[in-house]
Amino acid sequence: MSKTGLKIALFVWMEAVIFGAFTFLPPVPGFRVPALAKIMVFHVPNAMSATVISLAAAFYAIRFLFRRNLLDDVKSAAGASIALLFWILTTVTGMVFAQVQWGQAWNWDPKQSAIFMLLLIYLAYFAIRAAFSDAQKRATAAAAWMVFAALTIPLLTYVLPNAPGMMSLHPKQVVFSVGGMGPQYRMIFWGATAGFMGIAVWMFRLHVRIDEMKLSGELAGLSGGL
């Protein structure tokens, strides 16, 4: 199948997922508004895609620190922007859920605090990038920060909120446990995961292509930077 064919297929797939999410999924009792449960197939797949792209960005950052090849830095930065986008989407869908379920969009519970810090870490990454005009120095500082962030993110988002003593509003153990989701949910959920992951990877590759061209321009002496 050609590239265009794959893209069209992805488009159709996501349409089916969205349509299915709104019409096919049954409301779930136990939520304040039973239909609210449907947001799960948007919130969690976004989070999973964001995690994958975050890991890719960290991987390329580490590779840059070893090989000092600016193309690795381009991929790391592109990964960081896509990851930031998906983390923002995760946060917003989470806030919508929180508003309806608990009457308050922001609660400062451990998971929300952790995601807030994570967003700040990514924003700091772009602040660092903006402060350097030399490509190698920029890449070095940004890569060092990305690796540092890669070390703290798992701690902040998975270890601390799920630590035994922590009280969190965030539901636990829904996705990967046996009785967590009904069959229709499971189908749409994993479909959405595949779809969002596909979109994330596609955006990443486009971003990298554009940034590689910008980098060549910058190295050749044209103005502007990443």
Binding site: L65, L120, I121, A124, A127, I128, A131, K137, A144, L156
Partner: protein, 240 residues
């Protein structure tokens, strides 16, 4: 050669680290105002908080939070200096030739830890005197431990972040950039330190295990940040 500072002979490594530390202290001592300015900054921040609160009674948990915010501001105002000054004085390249990166980091980190200690020794007692007391039979030993470990965490993260951004070209914005980049890294430490300080100020009011949990978080934070700093510093410091 054993006396080559770049060698991995332990004795020369220690000498290099000590030399960096002594150099920082001497340069700081020359400009007599610098450390004093940082300490005065933290006193002023403390005063701004305490004065505006006045007689209003605040819970120990709020006071603990305010103490750490004041310490954070003081750290942000003073701890970037070792690296930024190095770049501004244009002695950084010489230092790169002189000593192994880990020795440089150790010297600068110990210096910043010392600065943090001075800040805390002045600010913390003043804080507890000046703020209307929320303390209920405080655990002074725990309080000291929190301030020590939390301060070490503040110093470590600040040192590493300063190293990363010291070469940023937009010199005017380096101060703001330092705070912006350091804050997300410091947030978990702030949280845990505040909780532990609250537990130390009013042990009877805090849930059981609160202090222990928080101290574990602070200790592991320190370990992770220092380890990550040593691993990454070499890449940031050397051009290759």
């Amino acid at each position: 050669m054993a006396d080559d500072p770049q060698s991995i002979d332990a004795r020369t490594w220690f000498r290099a680290a000590a030399a960096v530390l002594v150099k920082e202290a001497r340069v700081e001592g020359r400009s007599r105002l610098a450390l004093g300015a940082t300490v005065l900054f933290s006193v002023c921040a403390l005063t701004a908080v305490a004065y505006t609160i006045g007689e209003t009674h605040l819970d120990a948990s709020v006071q603990a939070a305010l103490l750490w915010v004041v310490l954070l501001f003081a750290a942000m105002s003073g701890l970037a200096r070792p690296f930024v000054r190095e770049e501004e004085m244009q002695t950084a390249d010489y230092l790169r030739l002189y000593a192994r990166p880990s020795a440089v980091l150790t010297g600068k980190l110990l210096f910043n830890a010392g600065v943090m200690l001075v800040i805390e020794v002045v600010t913390a007692p003043l804080f507890f005197i000046v703020m209307p007391s929320g303390m209920v039979r405080p655990d002074v030993g725990l309080l000291t431990a929190v301030l020590a470990l939390g301060g070490l965490g503040l110093a470590s993260t600040s040192t590493f972040v300063a190293a990363m951004i010291a070469q940023a070209s937009a010199a005017g914005s380096r101060g703001a950039l330092f705070f912006v980049v350091a804050f997300p890294a410091l947030a978990p430490l702030l949280m845990a330190s505040t909780h532990a300080t609250f537990a130390a100020m009013a042990p009877v009011l805090s849930p059981p295990g609160y202090a222990a949990n928080s101290m574990v978080v602070i200790a592991s934070y320190d370990a992770i940040v220092i380890a990550a700093g040593y691993l990454l510093f070499g890449s940031v410091w050397s051009e290759t």
